[in-house]
């Protein structure tokens, strides 16, 4: 555990001292602030559609998913690709640590940063609370949904970083993985309801998943989906590291 903590501390230092992290954090907060303001503005009009601000905030439109995939790609791209490019993977992997510890520390570092992105957004429901009586269940479920979706996206990003030797390639690959997942969700909603492909794609659709979370419905299938994607991606990351050693 002590070794993992040392690796994680090194990872967090590397993330938080990089300009990319601050650009991502600033852009995320700016965009989420604008988005929340727009939601309040639209919902406060007399002819506003039905909806609560926070339910709309958590994945109420495709536009809220795409930047998220981009941000995660930007966070995770350095995990392994930068270390490989700079040569620092060599001292790391020849220290008495297991590949599992390295993968876990890299993932935990990136995921903690992802979670940190969301912390300042807690101001929004608190603002609502000052002026109204928001339902806290759906809000907490919405945050849980974003945390689970981010857990899977971050793992896919770490895998992309292990596959690539340059950060930019890792970012493109991570965006491809996340974008592919979003496209699968879109495909699910476009295909006929009765078709097998449509049913399967709707099961893995991040849009439908967030539709459930943001109304306060925590479905164990969604939890299992995100945890499975994260676990599979991290397992493959480990395999990629092993293959790099022997090929």
């Amino acid at each position: 555990m002590r070794i993992f903590r040392a690796l994680l501390r090194r990872e967090l230092l590397a993330i938080w001292t990089s300009p990319t992290a601050w650009v991502v954090l600033g852009t995320f907060l700016l965009l989420s602030g604008i988005y929340f303001y727009e939601i309040l503005w639209v919902l406060s009009r007399p002819a506003a559609p039905y909806g609560t601000p926070m339910a709309t905030f958590f994945g109420g439109s495709l536009l809220s998913f795409v930047p998220l995939v981009l941000f995660v790609a930007a966070i995770t791209m350095r995990s392994f690709a930068e270390e490989h490019h700079a040569g620092t993977l060599e001292p790391l992997l020849t220290a008495p640590v297991t590949a599992n510890q390295v993968v876990a520390a890299k993932y935990a570092g990136a995921y903690l940063f992802y979670l940190a992105l969301w912390v300042p957004t807690a101001v929004y429901p608190l603002l609502l609370w000052r002026h109204a009586d928001p339902a806290w269940g759906p809000i907490l479920a919405g945050y849980l949904g974003m945390a689970l979706f981010g857990a899977a996206l971050t793992a896919l990003g770490v895998l992309a970083s292990a596959l690539a030797r340059r950060q930019i390639v890792a970012a493109i690959l991570a965006f491809g993985f996340g974008g592919g997942w979003l496209l699968a969700g879109l495909g699910g909603s476009l295909l006929p309801g009765g078709s097998t492909a449509g049913r399967v794609l709707r099961h893995v659709s991040p849009f439908e998943m967030m539709d459930r979370f943001r109304v306060g419905l925590v479905d164990s299938r969604d939890v299992v989906l995100c945890v499975s994607v994260a676990a599979a991606a991290l397992l493959w990351t480990r395999v990629v590291l092993d293959l790099r050693r022997s090929s």
Binding site: R10, L13, T17, T94, A95, S246
Partner: protein, 255 residues
Amino acid sequence: MIEARGLCRDFGRVRAVDEVSFTAAPGVVTGFLGPNGAGKTTTLRLLATFLAPAAGTAVVAGFDVVRAPLEVRRRIGYLPENAPLPGELRVSEYLRMRAEVKGIGRGGVRRAVGEALERLALGSVERRLIGDLSRGYRQRVGLADALLGDPPVLLLDEPTGNLDPEQVRRVRELLGELSRERTVFVSTHLLAEAERVCGALVIVAGGRVVATGTPAEIASRHAGSPGGEGEAVPGLERAFLALAAGGGRVGEGRP
């Protein structure tokens, strides 16, 4: 102790390390000498378990690099080529992190880092960011890292590269001192370094071991070899030129 037996490593179609066998014992600095692209760095990466061999094996500090890589890593201090280091950390932060990763006990970390800083004369830069240091200083930080935890085997890839003459002298003295109780295996392409520092040599060319022995033994074996363009060439250089020329193709492969 290092015992390599028939180590092979390929990169695509290029065999970078070809049936490399040698023994390096404690008590002397063992030099791994060869021209650029001879397979020195790849061999060190195999011994440090960064790469896995395609064939053959090696026993480092009593553990097999293929079967027990973690045990090997616990017993080596490894300086990779060009000492790659994270630029965003301060020297002392980095060494502390490395000491923790190497499993040095909580109370021993400060002492181990302090000793390493003192040995490599890094006290004046311990609070500086590694990214702001000169290449020579970075090389010394890499060496300090290798010494953390007092490992019984040191694998050092070009340890005096990037250092100024005074630091080269100090590092050579340090290597001699360290080799009394440890196995010190040093890769170099500098003949002067091999002659001055190493009590035993393994010469590689084209990914193969072409000679082993003390510098004097190797030089005497090749005393009659042509030195090149009729010049007076010192013994070991003459031997090295002859061995490098006769070593077959030079593997250029890199991971």
